[in-house]
């Protein structure tokens, strides 16, 4: 007869929660993971103090270029010294407030357009109004304001203007081209296809070259268009081709039954597109459109090559024009890179938020 013998209790399970548990499962799970953790930690320990010293301890925050040359660390004073030149570029110094007001106006309009409360029928009218005010104030020549030629517009205001305007203008073109690529009429379909493939096949810089070198030749005599407008047109046509492909992706995802049902109800082609297809398709492609906007925002840096000085160009001009500060270009570049990063990163976060909003209807 066997006697009762209790078996030993099982050991408690490894902690899966709390920071110790997290470290165990994420940093020291097995020997490979631990090795990776240790290696990365060592590299970090080797580099971090150096970087910390360079960026903070030895850095020069205030002072002239002599102080910077004497120091071992980063020269953040250059950002302070050249701040206005980097941000506003060649725009006349005493008129900077105008560029500031205009840009904040445009930015708040863009931000407002991103929130649900403003998705109303009067939003386009508000855009037109703000743009008229923008150009009046920025260009001057009215109400006693000094006239500022468009080739003096530069820096961050120009970047924001080019990116947002080209995006807004490209949208209707892109929508028509996307519909055209899916239309049943062979001639229209092939025209749209040729346009999209042609633009997507060439780099933006060649389109910009075309806008700045070739455009004057294409226009009738005595018909001169401002370089800013030409470049804007170039970027718009370029963006529209990419955007058309994004929208086409959304159109393709609409089940054919939707269109057939609309036809059964007696809706015309445009009614079908406006009331049935586009609302569903556009909601689906919002994240794609946001990506498009981010890349347009980054692409505006290319206009520096055709001598319009947006953020990158203004920074280059600010740094290269002053021999005293030329040695500290890295800090200037890092500052500009940070500005771009803040803009692009917040846009991509917004795109993720809107993606979750759009997907709400599909989640249960």
């Amino acid at each position: 007869m066997s006697t009762y013998a209790p078996i030993a209790p099982r050991p408690a399970p490894a902690a899966a929660s709390g920071w110790i548990g997290w470290c165990q499962s994420n940093l020291f799970h097995d020997w490979k993971t631990s090795l990776g953790t240790v290696l990365i930690g060592l590299v970090f320990l080797a580099l971090a103090p150096k970087f910390f010293n360079w960026a903070i301890v030895d850095a020069v925050l205030n002072g002239g270029h002599e102080a910077c040359q004497a120091a071992h660390g980063a020269c953040w004073a250059v950002v302070k010294e050249k701040f206005r030149f980097m941000i506003f570029g060649r725009y006349p110094q005493e008129e900077h407030w105008r560029a500031l007001v205009c840009t904040s106006m445009l930015l708040s309009l863009i931000l407002a357009s991103c929130t649900r409360a403003f998705w109303k029928p009067w939003l386009p009218a508000l855009w037109v109004l703000v743009l008229v005010m923008y150009f009046a104030l920025m260009r001057g020549g009215v109400a006693g304001l000094r006239y500022v030629e468009t080739d003096l517009w530069s820096g961050l205001p120009l970047t924001i203007l080019l990116a947002s305007l080209s995006m807004v203008m490209a949208f209707p073109i892109a929508m028509l081209v996307a519909l055209g690529r899916r239309s049943g009429m062979p001639a229209i379909r092939s025209l749209c296809t040729v346009y999209v493939e042609l633009i997507r096949g060439v780099p933006l810089i060649s389109v910009l070259f075309m806008a700045s070198f070739m455009f004057p030749l294409l226009m009738p005599e005595g018909f001169n268009i401002d370089v800013l407008v030409r470049v804007l047109a170039g970027i718009t046509l370029f963006t529209a081709a990419y955007m058309a492909e994004v929208i086409r992706g959304g159109l393709q995802a609409i089940p054919k039954g939707q269109i057939e049902a609309a036809a059964t109800l007696g809706l015309s082609y445009w009614q079908t597109q406006r009331k049935i297809v586009l609302p569903q398709a556009l909601a689906m492609v919002v994240p794609g459109l946001m990506n498009n906007f981010i890349s347009t925002f980054k692409d505006t840096s290319l206009v520096a090559i055709v001598s319009l000085y947006e953020l990158t160009g203004a920074m280059g001009m600010a740094m290269n024009s002053d021999a005293n500060w030329r040695a500290f270009r890295v800090e200037g570049y890092l500052f500009i890179a940070f500005i771009y990063f803040v803009f692009c990163y917040s846009m991509s976060r917004y795109s993720q938020w809107i993606e979750s909003q759009v997907n709400k209807s599909r989640q249960r």
């Binding site: 990776g36 953790t37 042609l198 096949g201 780099p203 070739m214 004057p216 030749l217």
Partner: protein, 392 residues
């Protein structure tokens, strides 16, 4: 008495007929576009005549009169514009092909790294992607170029790692001295490709017949390399190598890459790799977990499950967007003009400034990029069609 029902009138030429309307729309669209093109062409012709601008591609045969910093074959300023263009095209292709290879490797590593068990690796990969894709490529190129031209030591004090030298003058590295034996080795490798493909076919049919996989990967690779080595030995096994040496003011001999080329290559690779990493990540995420579970239930090993089940399905998702990234890299290589690498755009830019033939030069740029883009998409579409789901 009722009349027999009459047929509705023929609507062929009526505005109510959809066919007729669409015909009208198409004719209108084509006409508008044709008129626009005619108008622009007419303006261009008039403007050119008035400003005394010559047109035509005959300038291509004229003397270029400028030097090019680097080229795969020798070029001097006495040669024609056509030659200069060829140099530009080869320079573009060189940086694009190398960049595509490197970006694929780096991007795949980072994309896979986002699934690592190690939180530090995951975090670093995420940081890399966010940092590099949110800063314009032009700014990144300028920064790399600045690093190469300002922070590296002068050539006389070049950093030395083994036979490699890194300095403001670029990278110097050993290259084998060209000999006839290398031609033999190349022929050997070519033969090796054929032999390896033949072996792989044989092994595959055996696998289908018996179900035993045997020498599917290492054997073809071995055959390929063995043929190459055999060719090299047959050619007399040339081993002479040109090593770079430190001279008085600069590093001499050996092969070299200019700082412009390196800045462009590194900048393009790092930027595009961030996008490729995202593509790879979403591709892997798109394969349902059940596929891996089903594979392991069938008794497939981890690596077989990855190679035969998961990867082929992930590739199907990955290929179209990765093609786009390759094309983007090629197109972004046109930014070389900003840092002075003589690619096709910067040479065309010089040619525009010298000859004033803007239309022709821009047309040539577009031709080069369009044909590369089309060639790449044809190739990738072919591969995509191969890896597509075969439906009825």
């Amino acid at each position: 008495m009722s009349k027999p029902p009459s047929h509705p009138p023929s609507k062929r030429w009526s505005w109510r007929s959809q066919a007729f309307r669409s015909l009208v729309y198409q004719v209108l669209a084509v006409a508008v576009i044709a008129l626009l093109v005619l108008f622009l062409a007419h303006n261009t012709a008039t403007n050119m005549r008035q400003r005394g601008i010559q047109s035509g591609f005959d300038f291509l045969l004229g003397t270029a009169g400028f030097d090019i910093g680097e080229s795969l074959f020798t070029f001097d300023s006495g040669e024609s514009y056509l030659q200069a263009y060829l140099v530009g095209v080869t320079n573009t292709l060189r940086v694009a092909v190398l960049g595509i290879v490197l970006t694929t490797i780096l991007g795949t590593l980072i994309g896979v790294g986002r699934f690592s068990r190690n939180a530090l690796v995951r975090g670093l990969c995420r940081m890399y992607v966010e940092a590099f894709r949110n800063i314009p490529i032009l700014l990144q190129l300028l920064m790399w170029y600045l690093i190469f031209t300002e922070f590296l030591p002068a050539m006389a004090e070049a950093w030395e790692v083994g036979p490699f030298f890194l300095s403001k003058g670029g990278l110097n590295f050993p290259i084998p001295v060209w000999a006839n034996g290398h031609v033999w080795a190349a022929w050997g490798l070519l033969l090796g490709v054929g032999a390896a493909v033949a072996w792989r076919k044989h092994a595959w049919s055996k696998f289908i017949a018996t179900g035993v996989p045997h020498g599917m990967f290492w054997m073809p690779l071995g055959i390929f390399l063995a043929c190459g080595i055999a060719g090299w030995l047959l050619g007399g096994a040339p081993t002479e190598t040109n090593f770079p040496i430190r001279g008085e003011f600069s590093v001499e001999n050996g092969g070299s890459l200019t700082p412009e080329f390196l800045a462009l290559l590194i900048g393009l690779t790092m930027y595009t790799a961030a996008f490729v990493a995202e593509v790879v990540r979403s591709g892997i995420q798109a394969v349902p977990q059940g596929q891996a579970e089903a594979a392991s239930a069938l008794g497939l090993s981890q690596s077989h499950s990855m190679r035969l089940v998961q990867l082929p399905q992930a590739l199907r998702v990955i290929i179209p967007p990765i093609t786009n990234q390759y094309l983007n890299l090629t197109k972004n290589s046109s930014l070389a003009v900003a840092i002075g690498y003589p690619d096709v755009v910067s040479i065309a830019n010089t040619a525009i400034n010298q000859t004033g033939r803007a239309v022709e030069c821009i047309a040539l740029i577009m031709l080069v990029y369009l044909s590369t883009s089309l060639a790449t998409s044809v190739l990738m579409n072919w591969y995509n069609a191969r890896s597509e789901i075969k439906e009825r």
